[in-house]
Amino acid sequence: MKVLIAIKRVIDYNVKIRVKSDNSGVETANVKFSMNPFDEIAVEEAVRLKEAGKAEELVAVSMGVAQCQETIRTALAMGADRGILVQTDAELQPLAVAKLLKALVDKEQPQLVILGKQAIDDDSNQTGQMLAALLGWPQGTFASKVTLGDGKAEVVREIDGGLETVEIKLPAVVSTDLRLNEPRYASLPNIMKAKKKPIDTVTPADLGVDVAPRLVTLKVEEPAKRKAGVKVASVAELVDKLKNEAKVI
């Protein structure tokens, strides 16, 4: 079975995000980038499937600027077999990404597409669902456990207030949640092996996909500064404030 893993290059989760002075976006110059943590979980899950003998080939796909190749190389060092970079300097919104992924799925014919439930930069949480819709495939989103069976997969989903177990027919799209697994570090021998693994580069035009944005970003702002809290002397005072000042109870 072939598995396609979609990974995104995002600003590293340790970086303190700064908004550009003209409010057009966030500062990306001299900022550390790394793989979207949810996508790292997707790579790890795919590698575990391969190690368990349930997947034969793992293809890691990333889209965006040339440096996305670094992100693909990280996936290769974790255990993916080859990479595909859809290279473009254009802004890619979730629908465009889903369309590009669909074009690649048509070409590669994987039985499973696995990807993070959302990227930590724009928090859209749309790509997996859009891709499933475009392909007409079943989806198992927010997966905290994935068990592959014969022609089907059992996915335990994290939902409000608990867990839901669904069975989906393959081929399918699975989006990963935080508790699915703990991604491994790339070891040095595997980093060296990854250098020799192939990465193909294509463009949106090669795939015949129009990636023009459908949404326009009007402005980006920092969250409002939180005001300092107050200390209360007693539970009675707290209840009083919640009732009369905050009016929440």
Partner: protein, 388 residues
């Protein structure tokens, strides 16, 4: 001229950062307080294959250059592991280069894989109490007796000898008077640290308590001839080849630790409010921090220039020595500034920067003093008469 890390180099830095993230400030504070080798940290580094970064692929290494090794060591120190973390693995990185370059096929196959896997721990028996920087005048003798050498002498500042099972040992095999050039007549061995004939005594020191430094007394250690590296009498020449990479790695560690200190100090300057505003708003706080950043960046450029020259097979003595000098001083200024920016809290162990300041004395003193670096640069770069 390209100042960007390539893909592999970025991965090296990121992967090391991830390993180090499991060993936070409290871990190293505890190691500094009570000592004890950071075995779990060293094991994690070894298990992910990092000890072989600069050793040949044939023997389980990655065959990368000193540039990549420097990135690795800098990332370890910069994580806050400082010299306790860096020194715990430092010798495995370049220590056995003489074996890789001058050893026989048999020696390489026997010795390199266990060092890369972290199963063997080696220590460096070079410096002596009565020789110091004048290595050619070491007094440890190895006398050939049939199929072995009989070794007597003493070494000092031998790190990790408390737990090492191997020693890279430099000893005189021909008397100083009998060699026209004093750097000849010294022979290099890699042999078992047989504690029946080797007494190891720990030196209590200012910082880096986790990684022991020792005096080593060798009395009648028998070393088989096939534990000799390369030719008899050429040992110091083999070691000299490793001096430049070692200076580059030490420089990388110093820059890393300086950056850790600068990070802590900057954070504190943003958070600490006095007179109704963050202290980092005061130029008296800002300028030393900004100067430290500039100094660390300059040292960083010099060390990676030296590394690039070395990896390209070009001479790099001046650059490697200058990098060691600049990085140690920049690291020291950063650590000192970090303590001062923290005010009284800088003196408290729980703020970590006083530990950094004690550790950053290491690259100022070792493997060669600032003064000898400057004397070397004066002579070799500026063409002034030799002073030492």
């Amino acid at each position: 001229m390209d100042f960007e890390f390539d893909e592999t180099q970025v991965q090296i830095r990121d992967s090391i950062q991830k390993i180090c993230a499991a060993y936070g400030d409290e871990y190293w504070l505890e190691k500094d307080r009570h000592g004890g080798f950071p075995d779990d940290f060293a094991r994690d580094i070894a298990e992910a294959g990092w000890l072989g970064i600069a050793l040949p692929e044939r023997y389980g290494g990655a065959g990368l250059g000193v540039t990549e090794a420097a990135i690795m060591m800098m990332a370890i120190a910069e994580s806050g592991a400082g010299f306790a973390g860096a020194s715990a693995v430092h010798i495995n990185i370049f220590g056995l280069k003489p074996v890789a370059v001058h050893g026989t096929e048999e020696q390489k196959r026997a010795w390199l894989p266990p060092i890369i896997r972290g199963e063997h721990r080696a220590c460096f028996g070079v410096t002596e109490p009565n020789a110091g920087l004048d290595t050619a005048r070491i007094q440890t003798r190895a006398e050939r007796q049939g199929g072995e050498y009989l070794v007597h002498g003493a070494k000092i500042w031998t790190s990790t000898a408390q737990s090492a099972n191997k020693i890279l040992l430099l000893a005189r095999t021909a008397p100083l008077e009998a060699t026209p050039n004093p750097i000849d007549g010294l022979t290099l061995f890699y042999t078992d640290l047989d504690r029946r004939h080797v007494q190891v005594k720990e030196i209590e020191k200012m910082g880096r308590k986790a990684v022991d430094s020792n005096m080593v007394f060798i009395d009648g250690l028998r070393v088989p001839v096939d534990h000799r590296i390369g030719e008899e009498g050429k040992g110091f020449r083999y070691l000299l080849e490793g001096f430049n990479p070692e200076r580059i790695l030490i420089a990388a560690e110093a820059v890393g630790l300086g950056r850790a200190a600068l990070r802590k100090a900057t954070q504190y300057a943003k958070e600490r409010h006095v007179f109704g505003r963050p202290i980092g708003q005061n130029q008296g706080i800002q300028h030393p921090l900004a100067r430290s950043w500039a100094e660390l960046e300059a040292a960083n450029l010099m060390l990676f220039k030296a590394a690039a020259l070395y990896d390209a097979g070009r001479p790099c003595g001046a650059e490697a020595n200058a990098a060691k000098y600049l990085a140690a001083e920049a690291g020291f200024h950063a650590c000192e500034t970090a303590v001062m920016v923290h005010g009284g809290m800088g003196y408290a162990k729980e703020y970590h920067v006083e530990r950094y300041m004690r550790e950053v004395m290491i690259p100022r003193l070792a493997p060669v003093s600032r003064e000898l670096v400057l004397s070397f640069l004066a002579e070799r770069v500026l063409g002034l008469p030799k002073s030492y």
